[in-house]
Protein backbone atom coordinates (compact mmCIF):
# COMPACT_ATOMS: atom_id res chain seq x y z
CA UNK A 1 0.00 0.00 0.00
CA UNK A 2 1.49 3.31 -1.07
CA UNK A 3 1.05 6.27 1.26
CA UNK A 4 -0.06 9.52 -0.34
CA UNK A 5 -0.83 11.56 2.76
CA UNK A 6 0.91 11.91 6.10
CA UNK A 7 -1.13 13.92 8.58
CA UNK A 8 1.02 15.16 11.45
CA UNK A 9 -0.90 15.90 14.63
CA UNK A 10 1.71 18.33 15.93
CA UNK A 11 -0.54 19.55 18.76
CA UNK A 12 -3.33 17.86 20.70
CA UNK A 13 -4.89 21.06 21.98
CA UNK A 14 -6.63 23.98 20.31
CA UNK A 15 -7.00 27.64 21.20
CA UNK A 16 -10.62 27.69 20.04
CA UNK A 17 -13.56 25.38 20.71
CA UNK A 18 -15.62 24.70 17.58
CA UNK A 19 -18.78 22.92 18.67
CA UNK A 20 -18.72 20.38 15.80
CA UNK A 21 -15.06 19.39 16.18
CA UNK A 22 -14.49 15.66 15.80
CA UNK A 23 -11.35 15.80 17.94
CA UNK A 24 -12.98 17.12 21.11
CA UNK A 25 -16.75 16.98 20.78
CA UNK A 26 -17.69 13.69 19.14
CA UNK A 27 -16.81 11.24 21.91
CA UNK A 28 -13.14 10.48 21.33
CA UNK A 29 -10.96 11.16 24.37
CA UNK A 30 -7.50 10.26 23.10
CA UNK A 31 -6.43 13.90 23.01
CA UNK A 32 -6.55 13.95 26.82
CA UNK A 33 -3.77 11.36 26.99
CA UNK A 34 -1.55 13.01 24.42
CA UNK A 35 1.28 15.44 25.13
CA UNK A 36 0.13 18.97 24.39
CA UNK A 37 2.49 19.21 21.46
CA UNK A 38 4.98 17.12 19.53
CA UNK A 39 8.38 17.10 21.22
CA UNK A 40 11.62 17.90 19.46
CA UNK A 41 12.53 14.23 19.88
CA UNK A 42 9.39 13.05 18.08
CA UNK A 43 9.97 15.66 15.37
CA UNK A 44 13.46 14.20 14.86
CA UNK A 45 11.91 10.73 14.52
CA UNK A 46 9.46 12.11 11.93
CA UNK A 47 12.37 13.67 10.06
CA UNK A 48 14.10 10.29 9.93
CA UNK A 49 11.03 8.28 8.95
CA UNK A 50 9.60 10.43 6.16
CA UNK A 51 12.74 10.47 3.96
CA UNK A 52 12.98 6.71 4.54
CA UNK A 53 9.37 6.35 3.40
CA UNK A 54 10.15 8.33 0.26
CA UNK A 55 13.17 6.14 -0.46
CA UNK A 56 11.15 2.99 0.16
CA UNK A 57 8.15 3.83 -2.00
CA UNK A 58 9.78 6.18 -4.52
CA UNK A 59 6.56 8.07 -4.74
CA UNK A 60 5.76 11.49 -3.31
CA UNK A 61 3.24 12.08 -0.55
CA UNK A 62 1.60 15.17 0.91
CA UNK A 63 2.38 16.22 4.48
CA UNK A 64 -0.29 18.15 6.36
CA UNK A 65 0.34 19.68 9.79
CA UNK A 66 -2.79 19.48 11.85
CA UNK A 67 -3.97 19.47 15.46
CA UNK A 68 -5.66 20.75 17.54
CA UNK A 69 -4.28 23.99 16.28
CA UNK A 70 -0.87 23.32 14.70
CA UNK A 71 0.36 26.87 15.24
CA UNK A 72 0.31 26.22 19.01
CA UNK A 73 3.48 24.19 18.40
CA UNK A 74 6.37 26.16 19.92
CA UNK A 75 7.97 28.11 17.10
CA UNK A 76 11.44 26.58 17.52
CA UNK A 77 9.99 23.08 17.08
CA UNK A 78 7.83 24.18 14.15
CA UNK A 79 10.89 25.70 12.50
CA UNK A 80 12.93 22.52 13.07
CA UNK A 81 10.12 20.43 11.54
CA UNK A 82 9.46 22.58 8.49
CA UNK A 83 13.12 23.23 7.74
CA UNK A 84 13.91 19.55 8.19
CA UNK A 85 11.13 18.51 5.79
CA UNK A 86 12.31 21.09 3.24
CA UNK A 87 15.91 19.90 3.51
CA UNK A 88 15.27 16.18 3.44
CA UNK A 89 12.35 15.68 1.06
CA UNK A 90 11.88 16.59 -2.61
CA UNK A 91 9.58 19.47 -3.47
CA UNK A 92 7.06 16.97 -4.83
CA UNK A 93 6.29 16.04 -1.22
CA UNK A 94 4.10 19.07 -0.52
CA UNK A 95 3.95 20.55 2.97
CA UNK A 96 0.82 22.30 4.23
CA UNK A 97 -0.55 23.62 7.50
CA UNK A 98 -4.27 23.52 8.22
CA UNK A 99 -4.88 26.34 10.70
CA UNK A 100 -7.79 28.18 12.26
CA UNK A 101 -6.03 31.38 11.21
CA UNK A 102 -6.00 33.07 14.60
CA UNK A 103 -2.24 32.77 15.25
CA UNK A 104 -0.76 33.87 11.94
CA UNK A 105 2.05 36.40 12.15
CA UNK A 106 4.69 37.74 9.78
CA UNK A 107 7.44 35.50 11.15
CA UNK A 108 5.30 32.47 10.38
CA UNK A 109 4.74 33.67 6.82
CA UNK A 110 8.49 34.08 6.30
CA UNK A 111 9.06 30.60 7.71
CA UNK A 112 6.45 29.19 5.32
CA UNK A 113 8.05 30.98 2.40
CA UNK A 114 11.54 29.82 3.36
CA UNK A 115 10.44 26.19 3.66
CA UNK A 116 7.91 26.09 0.79
CA UNK A 117 5.07 25.38 3.20
CA UNK A 118 1.53 26.45 2.38
CA UNK A 119 -1.32 27.58 4.62
CA UNK A 120 -4.98 26.70 4.43
CA UNK A 121 -7.37 28.47 6.80
CA UNK A 122 -10.54 27.00 8.27
CA UNK A 123 -13.40 29.48 8.00
CA UNK A 124 -17.08 28.72 7.54
CA UNK A 125 -18.21 32.00 6.03
CA UNK A 126 -18.96 35.54 7.22
CA UNK A 127 -19.22 36.25 10.95
CA UNK A 128 -22.93 35.48 11.28
CA UNK A 129 -22.35 31.99 9.89
CA UNK A 130 -18.83 31.22 11.08
CA UNK A 131 -19.46 32.29 14.65
CA UNK A 132 -22.40 29.93 15.09
CA UNK A 133 -20.02 27.00 15.44
CA UNK A 134 -16.45 28.29 15.40
CA UNK A 135 -16.26 29.83 18.83
CA UNK A 136 -13.65 30.56 21.47
CA UNK A 137 -13.67 29.02 24.96
CA UNK A 138 -15.42 32.12 26.25
CA UNK A 139 -18.22 31.56 23.75
CA UNK A 140 -17.31 34.47 21.51
CA UNK A 141 -17.01 34.07 17.76
CA UNK A 142 -13.62 33.63 16.12
CA UNK A 143 -14.39 35.21 12.75
CA UNK A 144 -12.59 38.50 13.38
CA UNK A 145 -9.33 36.82 14.39
CA UNK A 146 -9.43 34.29 11.52
CA UNK A 147 -10.24 37.01 8.99
CA UNK A 148 -7.34 39.07 10.32
CA UNK A 149 -5.08 36.07 9.76
CA UNK A 150 -6.25 35.74 6.17
CA UNK A 151 -5.72 39.49 5.65
CA UNK A 152 -2.19 39.16 6.94
CA UNK A 153 -1.45 36.37 4.45
CA UNK A 154 -3.00 38.30 1.58
CA UNK A 155 -0.96 41.39 2.37
CA UNK A 156 2.27 39.46 2.08
CA UNK A 157 4.00 40.26 -1.23
CA UNK A 158 4.34 36.54 -1.96
CA UNK A 159 0.92 35.52 -0.73
CA UNK A 160 0.29 33.40 -3.81
CA UNK A 161 3.13 31.09 -2.79
CA UNK A 162 1.81 30.65 0.74
CA UNK A 163 -1.98 30.75 0.66
CA UNK A 164 -3.72 27.72 -0.79
CA UNK A 165 -7.22 28.51 0.32
CA UNK A 166 -9.99 28.03 2.80
CA UNK A 167 -11.74 25.07 4.31
CA UNK A 168 -15.43 25.64 4.96
CA UNK A 169 -17.64 23.28 6.93
CA UNK A 170 -21.12 23.68 5.49
CA UNK A 171 -23.96 25.08 7.55
CA UNK A 172 -27.00 24.09 5.48
CA UNK A 173 -29.00 26.84 7.18
CA UNK A 174 -26.76 29.39 5.50
CA UNK A 175 -27.36 30.76 2.04
CA UNK A 176 -24.99 28.93 -0.30
CA UNK A 177 -24.89 31.80 -2.80
CA UNK A 178 -23.86 34.25 -0.11
CA UNK A 179 -21.21 31.88 1.17
CA UNK A 180 -19.87 31.48 -2.38
CA UNK A 181 -19.78 35.22 -2.87
CA UNK A 182 -18.12 35.66 0.51
CA UNK A 183 -15.20 33.43 -0.44
CA UNK A 184 -14.98 35.17 -3.80
CA UNK A 185 -14.68 38.47 -1.96
CA UNK A 186 -11.74 37.07 -0.01
CA UNK A 187 -10.01 36.17 -3.28
CA UNK A 188 -9.09 32.77 -1.94
CA UNK A 189 -7.44 30.56 -4.58
CA UNK A 190 -9.42 27.51 -3.52
CA UNK A 191 -12.18 26.42 -1.19
CA UNK A 192 -13.27 23.03 0.00
CA UNK A 193 -16.80 22.57 1.30
CA UNK A 194 -17.07 19.76 3.83
CA UNK A 195 -20.21 18.21 5.22
CA UNK A 196 -20.32 18.14 9.02
CA UNK A 197 -19.30 14.86 10.62
CA UNK A 198 -22.15 12.62 11.68
CA UNK A 199 -23.40 9.05 11.67
CA UNK A 200 -26.55 6.97 12.29
CA UNK A 201 -26.30 7.49 16.04
CA UNK A 202 -25.79 11.22 15.78
CA UNK A 203 -27.01 13.17 12.78
CA UNK A 204 -25.01 16.32 12.08
CA UNK A 205 -26.45 19.77 12.81
CA UNK A 206 -28.81 20.87 10.07
CA UNK A 207 -29.68 17.38 8.84
CA UNK A 208 -33.14 16.50 10.05
CA UNK A 209 -33.40 12.88 8.86
CA UNK A 210 -31.46 10.23 6.97
CA UNK A 211 -33.67 10.89 3.94
CA UNK A 212 -33.42 14.69 4.14
CA UNK A 213 -31.29 16.61 1.65
CA UNK A 214 -30.34 19.93 3.27
CA UNK A 215 -26.63 19.49 2.56
CA UNK A 216 -27.19 18.27 -0.98
CA UNK A 217 -29.41 21.25 -1.81
CA UNK A 218 -26.82 23.61 -0.37
CA UNK A 219 -24.05 22.11 -2.49
CA UNK A 220 -26.23 22.11 -5.62
CA UNK A 221 -26.72 25.86 -5.26
CA UNK A 222 -22.97 26.30 -4.78
CA UNK A 223 -22.49 24.32 -8.03
CA UNK A 224 -24.80 26.70 -9.90
CA UNK A 225 -22.80 29.66 -8.64
CA UNK A 226 -19.57 27.92 -9.59
CA UNK A 227 -20.40 27.08 -13.18
CA UNK A 228 -21.75 30.56 -13.87
CA UNK A 229 -18.70 32.30 -12.41
CA UNK A 230 -16.44 33.72 -15.16
CA UNK A 231 -13.44 33.58 -12.83
CA UNK A 232 -14.05 30.74 -10.40
CA UNK A 233 -11.70 29.67 -7.63
CA UNK A 234 -10.97 25.98 -7.31
CA UNK A 235 -13.64 24.23 -5.28
CA UNK A 236 -12.26 20.83 -4.43
CA UNK A 237 -15.46 18.89 -3.76
CA UNK A 238 -17.24 20.28 -6.82
CA UNK A 239 -14.17 19.70 -8.97
CA UNK A 240 -13.98 16.12 -7.77
CA UNK A 241 -17.66 15.41 -8.45
CA UNK A 242 -17.58 17.19 -11.81
CA UNK A 243 -14.40 15.47 -12.90
CA UNK A 244 -15.75 12.05 -11.92
CA UNK A 245 -18.94 12.66 -13.89
CA UNK A 246 -16.85 13.69 -16.89
CA UNK A 247 -14.91 10.45 -16.68
CA UNK A 248 -11.93 11.68 -14.70
CA UNK A 249 -10.72 11.03 -11.19
CA UNK A 250 -11.04 12.62 -7.77
CA UNK A 251 -8.12 13.81 -5.63
CA UNK A 252 -9.42 13.29 -2.11
CA UNK A 253 -11.08 10.56 -0.10
CA UNK A 254 -14.83 10.82 0.30
CA UNK A 255 -15.80 10.61 -3.38
CA UNK A 256 -14.74 8.40 -6.25
CA UNK A 257 -13.25 4.96 -5.82
CA UNK A 258 -9.54 5.69 -5.65
CA UNK A 259 -8.08 4.12 -2.54
CA UNK A 260 -5.85 6.58 -0.71
CA UNK A 261 -3.00 5.68 1.60
CA UNK A 262 -3.52 7.92 4.62
CA UNK A 263 -1.44 7.63 7.79
CA UNK A 264 -1.75 9.89 10.79
CA UNK A 265 1.12 10.48 13.21
CA UNK A 266 -0.22 11.53 16.58
CA UNK A 267 1.40 14.02 18.93
CA UNK A 268 3.32 11.30 20.79
CA UNK A 269 4.48 9.62 17.58
CA UNK A 270 1.83 6.89 17.51
CA UNK A 271 0.70 5.95 14.01
CA UNK A 272 -3.08 5.92 13.69
CA UNK A 273 -5.83 5.50 11.12
CA UNK A 274 -7.71 8.32 9.41
CA UNK A 275 -8.39 10.71 12.29
CA UNK A 276 -11.92 11.51 11.13
CA UNK A 277 -12.93 8.07 12.43
CA UNK A 278 -12.71 9.65 15.90
CA UNK A 279 -16.21 10.97 15.28
CA UNK A 280 -17.69 7.44 15.45
CA UNK A 281 -16.58 6.13 18.85
CA UNK A 282 -13.76 6.54 21.34
CA UNK A 283 -10.57 5.00 20.01
CA UNK A 284 -11.94 4.22 16.52
CA UNK A 285 -8.82 5.61 14.85
CA UNK A 286 -6.43 3.32 16.75
CA UNK A 287 -4.71 0.27 15.27
CA UNK A 288 -4.56 -2.84 17.43
CA UNK A 289 -0.80 -2.77 17.08
CA UNK A 290 0.82 0.21 18.78
CA UNK A 291 2.99 1.43 15.92
CA UNK A 292 5.18 4.44 16.54
CA UNK A 293 7.18 6.68 14.29
CA UNK A 294 9.97 6.24 16.83
CA UNK A 295 10.26 2.47 16.28
CA UNK A 296 8.50 1.43 13.09
CA UNK A 297 9.17 1.96 9.42
CA UNK A 298 6.20 3.60 7.71
CA UNK A 299 6.51 1.55 4.53
CA UNK A 300 6.35 -1.64 6.61
CA UNK A 301 3.29 -0.36 8.47
CA UNK A 302 1.64 0.49 5.14
CA UNK A 303 2.33 -3.03 3.85
CA UNK A 304 0.87 -4.76 6.90
CA UNK A 305 -2.46 -6.62 6.66
CA UNK A 306 -3.99 -4.42 9.36
CA UNK A 307 -3.13 -1.24 7.49
CA UNK A 308 -4.41 -2.63 4.18
CA UNK A 309 -7.62 -3.75 5.90
CA UNK A 310 -8.07 -0.26 7.33
CA UNK A 311 -7.47 1.36 3.95
CA UNK A 312 -10.09 -0.89 2.38
CA UNK A 313 -12.67 0.67 4.70
CA UNK A 314 -12.82 3.41 2.10
CA UNK A 315 -14.79 1.02 -0.12
CA UNK A 316 -18.38 0.69 1.12
CA UNK A 317 -19.58 -2.82 1.91
CA UNK A 318 -23.32 -2.19 2.05
CA UNK A 319 -25.24 -4.13 -0.64
CA UNK A 320 -27.19 -0.92 -1.23
CA UNK A 321 -23.99 0.88 -2.20
CA UNK A 322 -22.62 -1.97 -4.24
CA UNK A 323 -25.79 -2.10 -6.33
CA UNK A 324 -25.96 1.69 -6.78
CA UNK A 325 -25.22 3.27 -10.16
CA UNK A 326 -23.66 6.28 -8.45
CA UNK A 327 -21.06 4.35 -6.44
CA UNK A 328 -18.27 5.31 -8.83
CA UNK A 329 -19.06 8.98 -8.16
CA UNK A 330 -19.83 9.23 -4.44
CA UNK A 331 -17.60 6.30 -3.49
CA UNK A 332 -19.88 5.76 -0.51
CA UNK A 333 -18.75 9.05 1.03
CA UNK A 334 -16.54 9.26 4.08
CA UNK A 335 -16.50 6.00 6.07
CA UNK A 336 -17.29 7.88 9.30
CA UNK A 337 -20.71 8.81 7.91
CA UNK A 338 -21.61 5.16 7.31
CA UNK A 339 -21.20 4.20 10.95
CA UNK A 340 -24.04 2.72 12.98
CA UNK A 341 -23.49 1.54 16.57
CA UNK A 342 -25.00 -1.88 15.79
CA UNK A 343 -23.92 -2.53 12.21
CA UNK A 344 -20.60 -0.71 12.06
CA UNK A 345 -19.67 0.69 8.66
CA UNK A 346 -21.80 -1.68 6.54
CA UNK A 347 -24.34 0.99 5.66
CA UNK A 348 -24.84 3.69 3.06
CA UNK A 349 -23.70 7.12 4.16
CA UNK A 350 -26.12 9.23 6.16
CA UNK A 351 -25.49 11.70 3.31
CA UNK A 352 -26.65 9.22 0.64
CA UNK A 353 -29.77 11.28 -0.22
CA UNK A 354 -27.67 14.47 -0.31
CA UNK A 355 -25.14 12.87 -2.67
CA UNK A 356 -27.91 11.62 -4.94
CA UNK A 357 -29.40 15.08 -5.14
CA UNK A 358 -26.21 16.99 -5.87
CA UNK A 359 -24.79 14.36 -8.25
CA UNK A 360 -28.10 14.32 -10.12
CA UNK A 361 -28.04 18.08 -10.30
CA UNK A 362 -24.50 18.19 -11.66
CA UNK A 363 -25.27 15.47 -14.16
CA UNK A 364 -28.31 17.41 -15.31
CA UNK A 365 -26.07 20.41 -15.98
CA UNK A 366 -23.66 18.29 -17.96
CA UNK A 367 -26.49 16.81 -20.04
CA UNK A 368 -28.34 20.06 -20.66
CA UNK A 369 -25.35 22.07 -21.81
CA UNK A 370 -23.31 19.46 -23.59
Amino acid sequence: MQLDTILLKVTSRCNIDCSYCYVYHQGDTSWQRMPKHMSLGTVEDVLKQLPTLYEDQQHPFAIVLHGGEPLLLPRNILEALLQGLADRLPATCSRAIQTNGTLIDDDLLELCLRTSTTLSVSLDGPANVNDTFRIAFNGEGTYARAAAGIDRIRQHPQASRIFTGALCVVDPHSNARRIYEFFKSLAVPSVDFLFKDGNYAKLPPGKTAIESTEYGRWLAVAWDCYINDPDPPRIRVLDDLGRLLLGGASVKEGCGQTMYGIAVIDTDGTVTKNDTLKSTYDGADRFEKAWSVSNDRLSEIAASPEFVQYSQLQHPTSPVCQACSLLSICGGGMPLSRWHPETGLANPSIYCADYKLVIGHIQETLQNYR
Binding site: T5, V64, H173, E364
Partner: protein
Protein backbone atom coordinates in the same frame (compact mmCIF):
# COMPACT_ATOMS: atom_id res chain seq x y z
CA UNK B 1 -31.00 9.33 -13.36
CA UNK B 2 -33.98 11.29 -12.23
CA UNK B 3 -34.03 14.99 -12.68
CA UNK B 4 -33.52 16.89 -9.45
CA UNK B 5 -35.26 20.12 -8.59
CA UNK B 6 -33.82 22.36 -5.96
CA UNK B 7 -36.66 22.87 -3.54
CA UNK B 8 -36.84 25.42 -0.81
CA UNK B 9 -35.36 24.18 2.46
CA UNK B 10 -37.44 23.24 5.43
CA UNK B 11 -39.16 25.94 7.40
CA UNK B 12 -36.57 25.68 10.14
CA UNK B 13 -33.81 27.04 7.94
CA UNK B 14 -32.93 30.66 8.42
CA UNK B 15 -32.29 31.52 4.83
CA UNK B 16 -33.60 30.22 1.55
CA UNK B 17 -31.54 28.24 -0.92
CA UNK B 18 -32.28 29.10 -4.51
CA UNK B 19 -30.63 27.79 -7.61
CA UNK B 20 -29.62 30.00 -10.51
CA UNK B 21 -32.82 30.17 -12.49
CA UNK B 22 -31.32 31.20 -15.79
CA UNK B 23 -27.86 29.75 -16.28
CA UNK B 24 -25.59 32.17 -18.06
CA UNK B 25 -23.91 29.40 -19.98
CA UNK B 26 -25.20 28.06 -23.29
CA UNK B 27 -22.75 25.17 -23.58
CA UNK B 28 -20.35 23.47 -21.21
CA UNK B 29 -17.45 25.35 -22.80
CA UNK B 30 -19.03 28.67 -21.79
CA UNK B 31 -18.43 27.86 -18.16
CA UNK B 32 -14.90 28.56 -16.97
CA UNK B 33 -15.17 25.95 -14.22
CA UNK B 34 -16.49 23.27 -16.58
CA UNK B 35 -13.99 24.12 -19.31
CA UNK B 36 -11.20 23.69 -16.77
CA UNK B 37 -12.54 20.33 -15.67
CA UNK B 38 -13.00 19.10 -19.23
CA UNK B 39 -9.42 20.02 -20.04
CA UNK B 40 -8.24 18.14 -16.99
CA UNK B 41 -10.01 14.94 -17.87
CA UNK B 42 -8.72 15.05 -21.42
CA UNK B 43 -11.87 16.04 -23.23
CA UNK B 44 -9.93 18.50 -25.29
CA UNK B 45 -6.38 18.92 -26.46
CA UNK B 46 -4.91 22.06 -25.01
CA UNK B 47 -1.41 23.35 -25.24
CA UNK B 48 -1.54 25.21 -21.96
CA UNK B 49 -2.56 22.71 -19.35
CA UNK B 50 -2.99 19.05 -18.70
CA UNK B 51 -4.55 16.91 -16.06
CA UNK B 52 -1.16 16.47 -14.47
CA UNK B 53 -0.37 20.13 -14.11
CA UNK B 54 -3.62 22.08 -14.13
CA UNK B 55 -4.60 21.20 -10.62
CA UNK B 56 -2.41 21.45 -7.58
CA UNK B 57 -3.23 18.32 -5.65
CA UNK B 58 -2.01 19.91 -2.45
CA UNK B 59 -4.85 22.42 -2.39
CA UNK B 60 -7.12 21.47 0.47
CA UNK B 61 -6.21 17.85 0.07
CA UNK B 62 -7.01 15.62 3.02
CA UNK B 63 -7.59 18.61 5.18
CA UNK B 64 -9.92 18.46 8.10
CA UNK B 65 -11.88 21.21 9.70
Amino acid sequence: MESVAIHQPTASTEQEQSSVDTPLIATLRDSAALRRLMEEVGYEDTSGSSAATAYDRAHNRHNRS
